[in-house]
C-alpha cells in the first residue's frame, strides 16, 4: 500500500508541475481515442440503426456476429491490423504503420462493433415503441432510422461513451500497430506498460491514476451535459 500512497503523491506532483512530456502523452491519448470513437460512431450507428429497423435474411447471424465481435481481444485486432498495414501487407503502401493513424484504425475496428451492437439494442427497443406510429405517418425505413437515432440520442450517448472507455483503456492493439515510439505513438496506456516493464511501479501507477481521473472527468462532463440537455428538451 505504500506504493499506492507514493503513486498518489507522484500523480499529484506530475499534474501540478504541468509536466510537458506528460501532457503530450495525455493529449495524444485523447486525440487517438476521441478520433477512433468518432469514426466508430460514424460507422457503427448507421449499422445499428439499419439492423434495428430492417428485417432481412441473415439478420440474426449478423447480430450474433456483432455481439461476438464486442469481445475481440485487442491484441488480436492489433496483430491483424499490423499485418494489413505492414509494408509486406496489402495496405503497406499507405505508410500508416507506426503512426497515430494506425492506432486510430485499430481502435476504430475494435469499437465499431460495440457501438453497432449496443446502438442496435437501444434503437430496436425504441422501434418497438415507435413502429406503428412511424409506419402510420409513412416515414419509410430510412427516415425512421434517422428519427430513431435522434430520439434515442441520450441512450446512444452512453453507448458512445462505452466505446470511448474501451478505446482509451486498451493497450494491446495500439502497442503493436503504433510501436510505442517516444513522442510519436506513445500514449498513456503504453507508457504505463513501459514503466511497469522498467520496474518503475510507482510511476506506472501514478500515470494510471491520472488516466482514470481523466476518464472520470470526461464521463462526469458527458453526464452533466446530457442531464442539462434533457431538462431542456425532455
Amino acid at each position: 500500500m505504500t506504493t499506492l500512497a507514493e503513486s498518489v503523491r507522484l500523480a499529484l506532483g506530475l499534474m501540478a508541475g504541468f509536466d510537458a512530456h506528460l501532457f503530450g502523452i495525455v493529449a495524444l491519448s485523447l486525440r487517438v481515442s476521441i478520433a477512433s470513437t468518432l469514426c466508430a460512431t460514424v460507422i457503427g450507428l448507421p449499422i445499428g440503426a439499419a439492423l434495428a429497423v430492417r428485417t432481412f435474411r441473415g439478420r440474426g447471424a449478423i447480430v450474433a456476429t456483432l455481439n461476438a465481435l464486442m469481445g475481440m481481444p485487442p491484441v488480436v485486432m492489433g496483430l491483424l491490423v499490423y499485418l494489413m498495414l505492414s509494408r509486406a501487407g496489402p495496405l503497406g503502401s499507405l505508410g500508416l504503420l507506426f503512426t497515430p493513424g494506425a492506432m486510430v484504425i485499430a481502435q476504430t475496428l475494435l469499437i465499431a462493433p460495440i457501438v453497432a451492437a449496443l446502438s442496435r439494442q437501444v434503437i430496436e427497443d425504441a422501434w418497438l415503441e415507435y413502429r406503428d406510429q412511424l409506419t402510420s405517418l409513412r416515414a419509410g425505413a430510412w427516415r425512421s432510422a434517422l428519427t430513431l437515432l435522434w430520439d434515442t440520442r441520450y441512450s446512444l450517448l452512453t453507448t458512445v461513451l462505452a466505446g470511448f472507455g474501451r478505446a482509451v483503456a486498451e493497450v494491446g492493439a495500439v502497442i503493436i500497430v503504433g510501436g510505442n515510439i517516444d513522442g510519436v505513438t506513445r500514449v498513456m496506456t503504453t507508457t504505463i506498460a513501459l514503466e511497469t516493464s522498467k520496474g518503475d511501479l510507482p510511476l506506472a501507477l501514478a500515470l494510471g491514476l491520472i488516466l482514470i481521473l481523466i476518464v472520470v472527468l470526461l464521463n462526469f462532463g458527458a453526464y452533466a451535459t446530457r442531464e442539462w440537455a434533457r431538462a431542456r428538451s425532455g
Binding site: 406503428d132 402510420s136 409513412r138 425532455g234
Partner: protein, 250 residues
C-alpha cells in the same frame, strides 16, 4: 405493412374520396396459434363515425390496425375504395400517444414534412392544428414534458394537420381522466364535422353512446353486430352484445 402505392389507379368510386369505402370481406388475422380476428365482413363508408366496441381481447386493436393497413389479414380480402393498398390521407392515433423528443410544433412539422408540404403551408397548418386543439400556448414546449391529456391532444393535432380522409383512433382516452377524455371527444366531433371519416375503438360504453353513429361490436375476434348506434343500444341482436351492455364480463 402494406406500403402505399400512390400510383395505383384503380376504379375507385368516382363520387367519393380516395381510399373509401373500406371493404373487408371475410377478413381474419391469425398469429401463430392465436386467432385474433375471423370472418369479418365490414364496409366503412365515407364521412361516417364508426365506434368499435367489445370486451378486452376481442380484437378491437387488431381490427383497427387492419383497417389502417398496419397489419395484413391472413385470410380474406380488404380494399380501400377499390385500391389494394391504403392510399395516403389516413392517420391514426394510438392509445398511448407516440411523440418524438422535440417540441410540440416540431412533432406536427415532422408529419407534414413526410407529406412533402411546402414550408408556408406547413406553418399554416401547424398553427391551425394547435389552435384547434387548444395547444397554441405550448407550441415550443417539449412534447414529452406535456401532460397525458395534452400529449393525446397533440397526437390528434398532428393527425388533424394532415387533413386525412380517414382518422383511426385506437382507444384514445383509455389512459386519460374524464375531463381530458371529454376534450378528446370534442375534437373528434370537430374533425368529423370537417368531413373526415372516423373509426374509433373504445371500451367505454358511455363514450360509445355519446360518439357513435354506427357501432361495430366484436367478441372473441368475431364481429357479431354492425349496425346503427341508436338501434344497437336499444336492442342489440346478439346475446354477447346484450350481455356486454348489461355489464357482464364475457
Amino acid at each position: 405493412m402494406r406500403r402505399a402505392n400512390g400510383h395505383v389507379r384503380a376504379r375507385a368510386d368516382a363520387t367519393g374520396p380516395r381510399g373509401l369505402p373500406i371493404s373487408l370481406d371475410g377478413v381474419g388475422v391469425r398469429r401463430g396459434a392465436a386467432t385474433l380476428l375471423r370472418g369479418v365482413d365490414l364496409v366503412v363508408a365515407a364521412r361516417t363515425r364508426t365506434l368499435v366496441i367489445g370486451p378486452n381481447g376481442s380484437g378491437k386493436s387488431t381490427l383497427m390496425r387492419v383497417l389502417h393497413g398496419l397489419v395484413a389479414p391472413t385470410e380474406g380480402r380488404i380494399d380501400w375504395g377499390g385500391l389494394a393498398a391504403p392510399p395516403r390521407g389516413q392517420a391514426m392515433v394510438f392509445q398511448r400517444p407516440i411523440l418524438l423528443r422535440r417540441s410540440a410544433a416540431r412533432n406536427i412539422d415532422y408529419a407534414l414534412r413526410i407529406a412533402e408540404l411546402p414550408r408556408a403551408e406547413r406553418l399554416r397548418r401547424i398553427d391551425g392544428a394547435l389552435a384547434a386543439t387548444g395547444l397554441a400556448a405550448i407550441a415550443a414546449q417539449s412534447a414529452r414534458t406535456l401532460s397525458g391529456g395534452e400529449q393525446q391532444r397533440l397526437a390528434i393535432a398532428r393527425a388533424w394537420a394532415l387533413a386525412p380522409e380517414v382518422l383511426f383512433l385506437d382507444e384514445p382516452t383509455a389512459s386519460l381522466d374524464p375531463a381530458a377524455s371529454r376534450a378528446i371527444e370534442a375534437l373528434v366531433r370537430d374533425i368529423h364535422a370537417g368531413g373526415t371519416t372516423i373509426v374509433m375503438s373504445t371500451h367505454n360504453l358511455a363514450q360509445a353512446r355519446r360518439l357513435g353513429e354506427r357501432i361495430v361490436f366484436l367478441h372473441e375476434g368475431r364481429m357479431t353486430e354492425c349496425t346503427d348506434a341508436a338501434e344497437f343500444f336499444r336492442a342489440p341482436r346478439s346475446p354477447e352484445a346484450a350481455a356486454f351492455l348489461e355489464g357482464e364480463r364475457l
